[in-house]
């Protein structure tokens, strides 16, 4: 079961996300001036649609001072097969996104955006991995049906609450927080809405908070795919069998 957000701490939802969900790498996801809005706790997002500006380096996403390694976690894909994220996506341009299928706002928008960007002629080959953070509702079938509404090539992963939280921690993403007010089936989950881009060098150099536009995505993905300094495949890890 997901963590729930106690009623007494509801006001804390208005605090900056890093104050309560600081994790490894979280500092680089925070954007100065990010605004808190609305009542939905999915506003644990990092940026908003009116203020996102991009980086000095020309990327629309947030360039990380210290690249994040491709995380190692194993979940199950929508066919029930174990999916070793690091091994399955190694050396490939990969976009990792944690969300849930009942998300009313950011998840549908991010997935629709990625679909439209990646279906454009000349778009680079990118593996999109969506991790469902709501194991109670996001069964493999539900996740598959949900992703098929956007793009059937998107990879969907599920797991137990503990596995998902471990995966989020490995990726440096704050864990989801369920808002059970009012109690019932239609609870919403506060979660990081950022998309992490892993380059072929198995490092994430750029993270995309919510608010990056289609045109910027197209430009950034082209650039990420052709960025020579990040496209060198790392040497096999110690202990790996070649």
């Amino acid at each position: 079961m997901l963590r729930t957000w106690p009623r007494s701490r509801r006001a804390d939802l208005k605090a900056p996300p890093d104050d309560r969900t600081a994790k490894r790498g979280a500092r680089v996801l925070r954007r100065p001036g990010a605004r808190r809005r609305g009542r939905c706790p999915s506003h644990l997002v990092i940026a908003d649609r009116h203020r996102h500006q991009g980086t000095d380096d020309g990327y629309a996403g947030v360039l990380l001072d210290e690249p994040l390694p491709r995380p190692e976690f194993v979940l199950h894909d929508t066919s029930g097969t174990p999916y070793d994220f690091a091994a399955e996506t190694a050396g490939r341009l990969t976009l990792l996104f944690f969300g849930y299928t009942s998300c009313p706002d950011y998840c549908p928008l991010q997935l629709a955006m990625l679909d439209q960007v990646l279906e454009r002629p000349g778009a680079p080959q990118v593996t999109v991995v969506f991790v469902g953070i709501d194991p109670d509702r996001d069964t493999p079938e539900v996740v598959r049906a949900y992703l098929d509404r956007y793009n059937s090539r998107f990879v969907g992963l599920t797991g137990t609450a503990a596995q998902i939280e471990a995966a989020q921690e490995a990726a440096g993403v704050p864990p989801g927080v369920a808002d059970m007010d009012p109690p019932g089936e239609d609870y919403v989950i506060g979660h990081g809405a950022q998309i992490i881009a892993y380059s072929p060098d198995d490092l994430a150099h750029v993270v995309y908070p919510y608010g990056v536009r289609q045109q910027d995505w197209v430009g950034d993905l082209q650039r990420l795919a052709s960025e020579e300094r990040w496209n060198a495949r790392p040497s096999p890890r110690r202990g790996d069998q070649s």
Binding site: G38, C40, R49, H50, D105, Y210, R213, Q215
Partner: protein, 322 residues
């Protein structure tokens, strides 16, 4: 407090939302209309009906759901709002103003500005400046994110709509141009020029409005499809409203010409009917509608013959009865 429709981060639901500012505004406009009609009088039943219909259109365009959708979720709803303001609410409101009320309330120095705004060239330019300015991505993204900005945009649309229709059906008849001029003006100002920004929206590769691109989705409509729909609405959405009016203008111009011709039936015949034409000339002159006859005479009769006709009619005892 949310008093006017503006962009929102909340996902769209069909649960009604209250916007007290819109209600107060509508109530104020309604009270203003009722008080003005009582004070100055002269409003016919038809004009009263047009007033309330215009107010209803204004309310529908401004309030939930269309107002909320247009302010924060869908570019196509934004465009539909614009069409309702400009091509439904505004003409109904302009048509509802009685001539007497307009003359009394505009007495003094306000008639002159109204006459200036009724000039087709100026009105056409102003209307299209409003059109382009209020649909430019930078303006929409900036204004729609605040309630005051959204309110200002709605007011601009209403003002632009009223200006558009002043030359067509303004309350003061002497300020309206000829039917032909009105038809041509409407064709250019509302039929042709909006096609250009509409084309930009329809054929853009990417969503142009940050606001609508990143807004919570309504149904399964994507941002680019929504924008294309908005562009199509801008290009052709007004045509069902504008073309009948343009047609009516040209039809009335033709009717006016036919009436002028029927007032002098001899003019339509051969030179043998010159005498009858001359007889009808007096009646036409009395009505100040001699242009068509003069044109016919210029085309069919030499200058000498025209002089003879006028001399002959001057010698007669008065208008010839037919």
């Amino acid at each position: 407090m949310t008093w006017w429709c503006a962009s929102s981060e909340l996902s769209w639901t069909w649960a009604p939302r209250a916007y007290p500012g819109i209600w107060i505004f509508m109530l104020g406009v309604a009270i203003f209309g009722v008080v003005a009609a009582r004070r100055h009088g002269g409003a016919s039943t038809r004009q009263r009906a047009l007033w309330w219909a215009g107010l209803l259109a204004l309310w529908v365009a401004t309030d939930w759901p269309l107002g909320a959708l247009g302010a924060g979720y869908l570019a196509s709803a934004h465009m539909l709002q614009y069409l309702l303001y400009t091509f439904v609410a505004a003409p109904l409101l302009v048509l509802s103003v009685p001539e007497r009320l307009a003359r009394q309330s505009l007495s003094g120095g306000l008639v002159r500005p109204l006459a200036i705004l009724s000039r087709p060239l100026l009105a056409g330019v102003l209307v299209n400046v409003v059109l382009v300015a209020t649909h430019a991505p930078i303006t929409v993204d900036a204004l729609r994110t605040s309630q005051a900005g959204s309110f200002g945009m709605d007011l601009l649309w209403l003002a632009g709509g009223l200006i558009l229709w002043l030359p067509i059906c303004g309350p003061l008849p002497e300020q309206r141009p000829s039917y032909i001029a009105r038809g041509a003006y409407l064709f250019l100002a509302a039929g042709v020029i909006p096609m250009i920004p509409g084309g930009f929206l329809t054929f853009a590769d990417f969503p142009l409005y940050r606001l609508y691109e990143l807004a919570p989705r309504v149904g399964s409509i994507s941002a680019i499809t929504d924008q294309q729909l908005a562009g199509a609405l801008m290009k052709v959405g007004n045509l069902p409203l504008v073309w009948p009016v343009i047609g009516a203008m040209f039809w009335r111009a033709a009717q006016q010409e036919r009436q002028a011709e029927s007032a002098a039936p001899g003019l339509a015949g051969s030179p043998a009917g010159v005498g009858v034409a001359a007889a009808g000339q007096h009646q036409l002159a009395a009505h100040g509608e001699r242009a068509a006859e003069h044109q016919w005479l210029d085309e069919h009769i030499s200058e000498t013959t025209v002089d003879e006709i006028f001399d002959q009619s001057a010698r007669s005892d008065g208008p010839v009865r037919r």
